[in-house]
Structure formats: C-alpha cells, structure tokens
C-alpha cells in the first residue's frame, strides 16, 4: 500500500493510502473533535464537528481520504467558532439537562462542550416534548437526549446485523425508531445484545435501573468486536 505525505497544521505527516484525514491526524497526535464517528462503524459525516480546512475548503475529516500534498488545518479560529456553534445548537435542540441524566460524567456531548469551551448557549432552547420508551425489559430510550448521530443505527446494522434501528421523520422532528416505529419492547428483530447502548454517545440509550451518572457507555468495545471478527476472518 502506497504511503502519502501531507501537511497537518504545517507539519509533514505520512499516512497510508485510503486512510481518512481523521485517522492520519490521530496517528500524528492531532485530536479532531468527533461525535457521529465511531471506530468500527462506517462514517456518515453528519455531525460536522470534524470539519477541517483543506486548501481553503471545509471537508469532514471522517469521510475524506488523504491525498498526496494535502494541506490540512484542523483548528483555525473559524473552525473553532463553527464547532462551538454546532455544539450549542445541539444543546438547544432537545432537553439536555445534565443534572438529572444517567450519563452525566460519561457523556461525549458533555465532554465535547467542555473541550470546546462552551460556557453558555446563545440560541433559543427549542424545548420540544420528547417521549421516553421503557417498553424494553432491559433498556430504555430517552429521545430528549438523542443527538441523531445514528451510531446506534449503524452498530445494530453493521455489527449485530439486524437493523432494528432506523431514523424516521425529517428535520428536527426526526427520531430514532425501532422496527416499523413500534415500542422497543415489541420489536421482533431486537436481540437485546446491547450494542446500541455501547455505541450511544449520550444518555439517550440506557440500562433500565441506572440512576443519575451511573450509566457508562463503552463505545470502544464496538471497535474491539469488529477487530476481533476481522482477525478471526
């Protein structure tokens, strides 16, 4: 496999052909913020946090492959401002009340707000009334905390192979659904494997019975499963 040489924030970096900018940057010790990306799953370029500047244009680092001589900037002032706007928009979209959330302290959205230095939200809170689905005997879904990253959809489809999850509706009315939009507990395809819970970045998917700050996700396990399958062939 041919190697490519590119510039990341002015430093020469080598990368494998076919690698994404995100992977190349990580190998070079440059951390690019991500939310919809999860190691082991396909990339969709949805959250837009990983946008980087390539030759004056913005490109998602998670879906853009490296090319020879690429000049990448990952943390320009404009990018930092956009990322903060995006995270504020997410906080304003639904009911993210960390103080009463099962995932507080173990939430990628919360961590991202801290990393990006978000100290308040300048946009109007949309405060929609979202439902909570606790029809499943072991798991629960709180739409108030869902950021529509689709990691659950992809984990279920690509790793467990059953495609219980999907997204229905448009715009801010879009919601994750199970099967043909019936209660999770009545899903005929769900194997109760819990991979969606591993993958979820927020407190939207949780183990029933968990209370505030008790719910820990383990997103890295998705990549482990995928990798061990690959090794065994």
């Amino acid at each position: 496999m041919a190697a490519k040489t590119l510039l990341i924030n002015g430093t020469m970096v080598s990368a494998r052909e076919g690698e994404t900018i995100l992977e190349a940057a990580r190998d070079a010790g440059v951390k690019i913020p991500t939310l919809c990306h999860l190691d082991g799953l396909s990339d969709v370029g949805a959250c837009r946090l990983c946008l980087v500047e390539v030759g004056g244009r913005l490109r998602p680092a998670c879906t853009t492959t490296v090319s020879e001589g690429m000049d990448v900037h990952t943390h320009t002032d404009a990018l930092k401002a956009y990322r903060r706007q995006i995270i504020e928009l997410l906080f304003a979209e639904r009911g993210h009340v960390c103080a009463v959330c099962v995932a507080s302290g173990h939430c990628e959205l919360q961590d991202m707000a801290v990393t990006l230095g978000m100290d308040h939200v300048r946009y109007a809170y949309l405060a929609p009334t979202c439902s909570v689905d606790i029809s499943h005997e072991r798991f629960g879904l709180d739409h108030n905390r869902c950021i529509l990253c689709s990691r659950c959809v992809r984990a279920c489809d690509e790793v467990e192979g059953v495609h219980t999850w999907d997204i229905a509706g448009r715009g801010t009315s879009a919601r994750v659904i199970t099967d043909m939009n019936q209660p999770w507990g009545e899903s005929e395809t769900c194997t109760a494997c819990g991979k969606c819970l591993l993958a979820c970045p927020t407190g939207a998917l949780f183990k029933r019975g968990a209370t505030v700050a008790e719910m820990e996700h383990a997103p890295a396990r998705i990549a482990m499963i995928v990798e061990s399958r690959r090794v065994r062939g």
Binding site: A46, C47, I86, A124, I147, L148, R170, T172
Partner: protein, 529 residues
C-alpha cells in the same frame, strides 16, 4: 425498426392529419380549469358542423401562457384563444369558417411569444404528447438513430461537450464532462438517471416538459445511455405529478412497442430499458445522492461526496444523473450540431433556459429564452411588468436555494456566473416576481420555513440551524427583534453555508442573506419599532 420505418411512420402521420388542427392545452395548468371538457366540447362541435374531414381537435402540451389559460390555438393560422370555457366550443369552431366569436384572443406576436427561443419546448403545444407518431413526424428519434448508427459513443460525448451544455438542475455542471467521467468509470453495469423531482416552490418547468413532450426526454436519456454504456435508466418523478407520470408511462410503453426502447434498438446491439420511480414528497430527494438512495429503497438522505455518482452511484455502480431539461436538450444538439447550440446564449452559458414566471407579474407562465437575456427583458418584455401595473421590486431565482435580486440589478444577464455574482443562482428555473406589496423579511421567512420543514435532519447545522434562523425571523417580523438578533442571524447563515452536508443546508441562507444585503432597510424598519 430502421430509418426508413421512422420515415414511413412520419409520412403516414402527416397524411393522416387534417388541414386544420385545433390545439387544446391539456397540461396541468389548463387541465385544472376544464381543459379536457373543452377538448370534448370542441370535438363535438367539429362533428356537429360536419367538419371532421377538415378539422381535428388535438390535446397538446403546455402552450406557455398558463396565466391566460385554458388556451386553445388554431393551427396552422395561429389564432390564440384565452380563458376558454367549455361553452365557447361552438363559437370557436364556427369562427374557423368566418363566424362571429367573442372569445378573448391572444396576440401570438406579443413579446411573450416572439422573444422566446424554443429548443426544449420546440414541440410543446404543437403535438399530442400521448402519440409517439406525432413526435416521430416532428423529427423525433432521428437523433437517436444517428447517434447509434453513425457515431461512436466518444463522438456523441464530444458533441455534447462542444455544445457547452451545462446541467439545468441548478448547479450548471458541464454535461459533456459528466458524461465522459461516467463513460470512463469502470463498472460491470452503469445507469442513467433522470432527475424529475422538481421540488422548488414556484417551479413547474420539468413537469411541463414531461407532460408536453415525454419522448424528447426519453430520447435524450437513450442517447446518453448509448454514450456512457448503460442499459438501464430510471426517471425519478415526484409523486405530486400524477399526470406527468401517466404520460411518461404511456410514452415508455409506446417507445418499447416501436422498438425504440428495450433490446436491440434500431437493430443494433444496444439495449436500454427505462423505469419510472415515484418520489414521496421530500424536497431533499432532488439532491442526487438522496435521490439515488431513494431509488434503492433506502431513506432519502444525502451522503458526503466524493465519491460522486459518476464513480459510485446506484448500487455502487457508475451512474449518470441529469435533470429533465438537460436531457431534453440532447436530441436537438445531435440534430443541429454542437456549433449551432454553442452559438446560442453567452460565452459561459450556452443555449436556452426554461423559466416558470410566477408571482406579481402580468404574464405568468412558461418561457424558454436564450441565456444572456437580461432580467429586465424577462420581467418587463416577456412578463409584461407587474401584475395589474404594480411596480416590480425584485425577483427570486432558484427558489429556496436562490437569492432575491432587486429591480436596480435587473440589467444582470441571465447566465450562471452573473446570477451567482449578485448573490443568487440560476437554479432550476423558478422565477418568482415580487412587487411593492411584498415584505422581503416575510419572504425570507417563508423560504426558511420551507427549508426547515424539508431539512432531512442528518447534519446538525441544517437540522437545527434552519429552525433557529426561522425563529429569529419570526421574532423580527413580530417587531420584537434587535440588532443582536440580526447579528446572530448572519452568524448562523455563515455556519449553514459553510458547514452543511448538502446543497439544501448550504444554500438555505441565500434568501436571508440576499434580502439582508439588498433590503436592509426593511429589516431595520422592523427592529426599530
């Protein structure tokens, strides 16, 4: 099917024709105001007058001046009747033999008609779109014959490239370049897709082309398939166009029967089949990657490009996707040659463009004009100025993805670059005219509401940003806004434009940004109160 078979069909069709043809518009606009009833009554009137040997009544596609419909035209002499009612049938038929007729007449010599340059609409309003024989008699399918029998695929692509044709779906990507990319892409199978999703409010060009001359689009697709090496095509039409779908299906069936679609077209080794796919009412499904996902039966949601459909499209195979109007130009380019086509229009924007003129304008309807014409000529000459004499203030081109162009810039020529320079886009051809009664902030709000409702919800800036922008506009129009709100509006517009995943989010700020630029005082007036 051979060339002489085509010629034979054409000759028989011409022999069959009556000396006088009463053209009765049966496209959606006129159909909605009793077009079919008028056609029936005219047929009865002809029979009653015993003129069947001399006169025939033909249901034709859109004549163009939809605002004056239902339209009836007497061919070949050219008398035009406007606002026809079913009970006018007898008088119209009597007038053929010199009788009295008080039905309002249109002037075929007014600029609305004479300033047009029909290529895409060459047969519209002249032939019965439901009879392939009429299309063939008008010279149809001869370009396809020429392409298959006298040209190599590379030569076809070369002619399209040299014609300078650019995509009519909005972005204006060079068509020849796209074709040659797909032709060069490797794949055991390739597809041709026609985008007839046409979701812009105020746009009805593609509907009219499909309803008025479906074979023109099929012939263009077929030539494209030959050029790039595809054997399967799909036409994606929005579900709100049942009539266009019906006519298209009829056209496909007829073309199959005549051996112009299907296996071994013109006795060559070239096969091409076309199927219709019906959209389910999402604007975003007009975006090419979402459209392809929808054809595959998945959720109609855009994905990041590259890879472009030309490399990896339907089911991962190289796919050519063009707009309805783009395909409708192809047969004429092959017929008259690339130099002829390139001589129309401007240096960077060759050929013609079809526009749907709507809003506060005297002549609403469909026009096809050479590129390079100015907005002033369109609005004031073809369009006849403001509705009932009101003063035209601005036009919106490109629908919710376009911008508002103030009357002071009406000398801007209609070409891709000039429209972009003034903050709008060519778009797919919607042209909405505003007069002094239109509040521009309300207008921006209307388009943002549309984008907010049509956002697919995949990426954060567009999904949430459109809602926030819409809220700010609501606050401002309610007289509760402040300068800080306008600043935030601008900041959000920049975010959407620069970070959204697809064209919907990237261009959603255009109506807001252009009205903020050209009609600042209307915003200021609202926040001062």
């Amino acid at each position: 099917m051979e060339l002489h078979d085509l010629q034979l069909i054409a000759r028989r069709e011409r022999e069959r024709r009556r000396r006088i043809r009463i053209h009765c518009c049966t496209s959606s606009g006129c159909l909605a105001s009793q077009g079919l009833e008028i056609q029936k009554r005219l047929e009865a009137a002809v029979a009653e007058a015993g003129l069947e040997g001399e006169v025939e009544v033909v249901g034709v596609g859109c004549i163009g001046s939809c605002g004056q419909g239902p339209m009836v035209e007497i061919a070949p002499e050219g008398t035009l009747y406007e606002y026809v009612r079913p009970e006018d049938a007898d008088a119209i038929v009597a007038a053929i033999n010199g009788g009295e007729c008080s039905v309002q007449r249109g002037d075929p010599l007014r600029p609305f008609f004479t300033r047009q340059f029909p290529i895409v609409r060459k047969n519209a309003g002249k032939i019965d779109p439901e009879r392939i024989e009429e299309y063939i008699a008008a010279g149809g399918y001869r370009s396809l014959y020429r392409a298959i029998n006298e040209m190599t695929p590379a030569e076809v692509i070369d002619e399209i490239t040299r014609s300078g044709l650019r995509g009519r779906g909005g972005a204006g990507y060079p068509t020849g370049l796209k074709w040659s990319t797909v032709a060069k892409s490797r794949g055991e199978r390739k597809y041709v897709v026609c985008n007839g999703d046409e979701g812009d409010p105020g746009a009805f060009m593609d509907r009219s082309v499909l309803e008025s001359d479906p074979h023109l689009v099929l012939e263009g697709m077929c030539i494209a398939a030959y050029a790039i090496g595809a054997d399967q095509g799909y036409i994606y039409v929005r579900g709100e166009y049942p009539f266009a779908i019906q006519r298209l299906q009829k056209a496909i069936n007829q073309a199959k029967k005549f051996g112009l679609l299907g296996s071994q077209i013109f006795d060559s080794t070239f096969d091409f089949r076309v199927d219709i796919r019906v959209g389910a009412g999402a604007f975003v499904c007009g975006e090419e990657t979402a459209l392809l996902a929808s054809i595959e039966g998945r959720r109609g949601q855009p994905r990041p490009r590259p890879p472009y459909p030309a490399e990896s499209g339907l089911w991962g195979k190289p796919t050519l996707i063009n707009n309805v109007e783009t395909f409708a130009n192809i047969a004429s380019i092959i017929e008259h040659g690339p130099d002829w086509y390139a001589s129309i229009g401007t240096e960077t924007s060759r050929g013609t463009k079809v526009f749907a003129l709507t809003g506060k304008i005297h002549n609403t309807g469909l026009i096809e004009v050479p590129m390079g014409i100015t907005l002033r000529e369109i609005v004031h000459q073809l369009g006849g100025g403001g509705h009932s004499g009101s003063e035209v203030k601005a036009v919106q081109t490109g629908g919710p993805s376009g911008g508002c162009i103030p009357a002071s810039l009406f000398d801007t020529p209609v070409d891709y670059e000039s429209l972009a320079q003034v903050g709008s886009i060519m778009g797919s051809g919607g042209m909405v005219v505003m007069d002094n009664s239109t509040n521009m902030v309300e207008l921006a709000k209307f388009y943002m509401e549309f984008c907010k409702d049509e956002s697919c919800g995949k990426c954060v800036p567009c999904r949430v940003g459109t809602v926030q922008i819409h809220r700010l506009l609501e606050k401002i129009t309610a007289g509760q806004g402040s300068q800080a709100d306008i600043d935030q509006l601008q900041e959000l517009c920049q975010l959407l434009r620069n970070t959204s995943l697809c064209g919907l989010g990237q261009s959603a700020p255009n109506p807001v940004m252009s009205t903020l630029k050209y009609f600042t005082e209307e915003y200021e007036h609202l926040i001062e109160r």
